[in-house]
Symmetry: C2
Subunit: 507 residues, 2 copies
């Protein structure tokens, strides 16, 4: 380690420690903190965010960072940390500290206001807070926008560098064209599938056992991670030896089940990051899209795969003898792949999922680029659901209040879910050429697949961008047609539907 | 708020926010963090402790603090914060930052080394770490010792200002003289009491219900607090609206039961602190002794009181019909007050408890003032137990490894447990003159007692010292004879023992 970088490291460690503390507060808020704690804890988080701001923007760090940017002797991880830190600095140094800090306090509060409003099914109770969050985010994006860059493009950069509105318009345009009609076709066929047994008397204690079993089975390491319960399932991490996932239990067994495999996918990514990178700026997933590619890979490509259940379904039946004892493997697999255009993103089947995301993408553009009046959000939301999915929410909780993201100030995050699904399909298509994917699953060897992903993706953290990772693994730039082909093939096979050839672009 | 104080407040808020973050890490480490997280998280805590050090010792804060110390227009809470902050500053500014930070990393590690060593029953595995902790603490105390003040006296100041070795030698000397022979007498009589039913098949789920019921019943507010499980029960708080207690469950129902009432007592204290004080330096319990006075007041003076169980014992029987259905109230009360000289402090009866503390006090003096070789600790421990309690530990886990405190670097904490018990007895004696204490308990009105304590003690935080609180409430300085009288009367009554008149000093 060069003397210069060593000096920088001291300042970098401060930034990372404060960030880690704020992560712990977020985790604690969502999983444990008592009801009345919020207001005072938000104040603490606000002050800590000020400390973060100062630690990152202090002249000592800036000076050393500048020196290191010119240092050509840095190792690859060192150079990546310098680059990431520089980007983070560029991102926040144009914001006045008091505004930065106020915003942190505001979003800590906003998530609680949102949660209460959702519980009470009262969009109006959340609207003024949401307005303020949007105003701040637009203001901050404005500070950062160079060369007339558009505000929503600035926001997208935070989650998926290399994917602008232009790229995403093309991507989502393709999905809309192809999937809206295909979904109708499949949903009609899929009606036959019986999934009534997935809902019923599934005791939470047994569900907990299943959740833990599945998380471990797909490779989440409980010596370096924990699982808890929260309203909205999520994953976070303090470092690669402390990764945390949550789930929630309802009377639908598949809800927690796939949620756990999804979050375990995120968790496995974070646990797989190299030791030398953890607790440094480059020690996180490459992008939100790449992160979602892994979680949705585990949830869908692995978790909704018939082969996955072959070695373990008997065990699951033993956990729920009354509920699943008489249900055959094929009936179970058909049920967890049933396609129903519904209202709730997180409960959506694999096919309709991206259309939920499409709606959010279009609405975010309207909110940020077209100044859509927040009051009109529920109506816009409902109309789009009717148009693309043929269903209309009756309540705000099922509509514009269903996701936590906007209350956290995350605009530009949603596209990652669809992009990630598409990344995953591209990876899957490539992997199938190199390994007997379904054969491994049938033999219970998820670990071989996990190890492949760790070796080719997880370990690198932010050393490579998502595009670079895709190129290095699959030998090709991002290509959304793999995703469409994957979906069409899968559902055509499941429901005996004939697919028009032009829909396929297999190479 | 004066301009000066307002400026100070900005700096004070930074100090408090970082401290609160470190508290959250400690909580998380003890209750949730995964097994392998420790090493990396210790690094984070080390860096944060450096941030704390800098935030407190920075020249801007010091300058404003100096100004405020001369400001005669400050309100009482403001003046208290200035005083507390000044004391904290004096305490750490003489320590080099790197040593301060290394020590924080060391103790974060040491608690894990201790936990492992205790599990493995291997004192030698902990000894080198303990030596390092002691060396640091002696060095730090050395930096702080003015005018030839002795090292252990410096340490005692952190927990109970106003009580030096001279005071404590007198206090513990009295306890030793009076209680060692009295304990023998009572233990002999107490053998008759049947407490076999307290141990057995007590399902954890039912114990959890009982724990929650009791905590709420004595007044712990779950809207402003949470309860979790940890190896060593403790209480901590982020502020007065986020107070956290832990317990642990064994096959002895009384273990968790009284532990919960004890920790709830601590928690009620913190929840009772005035809003204007919370998240400021004066917004904590007056001293560790006063804190323990409240926890032990709830545990013993309330919780082991026959009157306490009158309105709720039926309910407890309903929770455990097989285990307690046939056990009468009087048999139950006799059992939870059974006196047995044992090995474990936290499971000790109310009478022998202070002798466990006496042993630790004597050993701490030897470690700090007489340079006792750490290797000899188990032997010294065992001999003292044999001398004062007539029992000798067979293992290190039952002996010198039983408490977490030393691994945390806390030397001088233990005396607070005995002092607190004595404070509590003095308060009780006074309260009985002003209210029908047992009558209230019999009517299920614990809240009247709690309200009294809140009004006279809890709300003040650190606005008053423990001595001042005792004076203001009872009209008298600390007087340990109340404690002896309380114990002698209680056990004489319970077991029909004749007490020599000179033992009593009722006024």
């Amino acid at each position: 380690m060069s003397k210069r970088y060593e000096q920088l490291k001291t300042y970098m460690d401060r930034v990372m420690a404060i960030k880690t503390a704020m992560t712990l507060f977020e985790w604690d808020n969502e999983t444990l903190a008592p009801q009345e704690a919020g207001e005072l804890t938000s104040q603490v988080i606000g002050v800590l965010s000020g400390e973060y701001f100062q630690a990152l923007t202090c002249s000592e760090l800036r000076q050393r960072l500048k020196e290191c940017r010119e240092d050509e002797a840095l190792s690859e991880p060192e150079a990546a940390n310098v680059r990431e830190l520089w980007e983070e600095l560029e991102k926040i140094q144009c914001i006045p500290q008091n505004e930065y800090q106020d915003f942190a306090t505001l979003t800590a509060r906003a998530t609680r206001v949102w949660a209460r409003a959702k519980e009470d099914n009262d969009f109006k109770a959340f609207a003024p807070t949401l307005k303020r969050v949007i105003e701040y985010q637009k203001k901050f994006a404005g500070y950062r926008a160079n060369n007339g860059k558009r505000l929503y493009d600035v926001m997208l950069d935070d989650f998926e560098p290399g994917f602008s509105m232009e790229n995403l318009d093309a991507f989502f345009g393709l999905l809309k064209r192809e999937l809206v009609p295909f979904l109708k076709q499949v949903a009609e066929e899929s009606k036959k599938a019986d999934d009534s047994f997935l809902k019923g008397d599934y005791p939470v204690k047994q569900q907990e056992k299943l959740a833990r079993f599945l998380a471990e089975y797909v490779g989440f390491d409980f010596d370096r991670g924990v699982m808890a319960v929260s309203a909205h399932p999520f994953t976070t991490n303090l470092h690669n030896k402390d990764v945390r996932i949550t789930t929630h239990y309802t009377d639908c067994v598949d809800s927690s089940l796939f949620s756990v495999i999804h979050e375990a996918g995120h968790g496995i990514y974070e646990q797989g990051i190299r030791d030398e990178l953890t607790l440094t700026p480059a020690g996180q997933g490459a992008s939100m899209g790449m992160h979602e590619s892994q979680s949705r890979f585990f949830e869908n490509i692995i978790g909704r795969n018939r082969a996955f259940w072959v070695p373990i379904y008997g065990r699951v039946q033993n956990m729920f003898p009354k509920q699943l004892g008489e249900v055959s493997l094929d009936t179970f697999v058909a049920a967890v792949n049933k396609v129903t255009a519904g209202l709730i993103r997180t409960e959506a089947d694999e096919l309709s999922y991206s259309l939920h995301v499409l709606i959010r993408y279009e609405i975010e553009k309207m909110l940020i680029e077209e100044d859509l009046d927040v009051e009109k959000l529920p109506e816009v939301w409902a109309s789009k659901y009717e148009e693309y999915l043929g269903v209309r929410p009756e309540t705000a909780a099922e509509g514009a209040l269903q996701d936590i993201h906007w209350s956290q100030g995350s605009f530009g995050y949603f596209p990652s879910y669809a992009l990630g699904s598409a990344f995953g399909a591209q990876l899957y298509c490539h992997m199938k050429k190199n390994m007997d994917f379904e054969g491994l699953l049938e033999k219970g060897k998820v670990n071989v697949i996990r190890q492949y992903l760790k070796e080719h993706i997880h370990q690198f953290g932010k050393l490579k961008t998502s595009r670079q990772l895709l190129k290095d693994v699959t030998g090709e730039d991002f290509n959304p047609h793999y995703y469409l082909d994957y979906l069409k093939e899968k559902y055509a096979k499941l429901y005996g539907i004939e697919v028009q050839e032009e829909g396929l672009s297999q190479q």
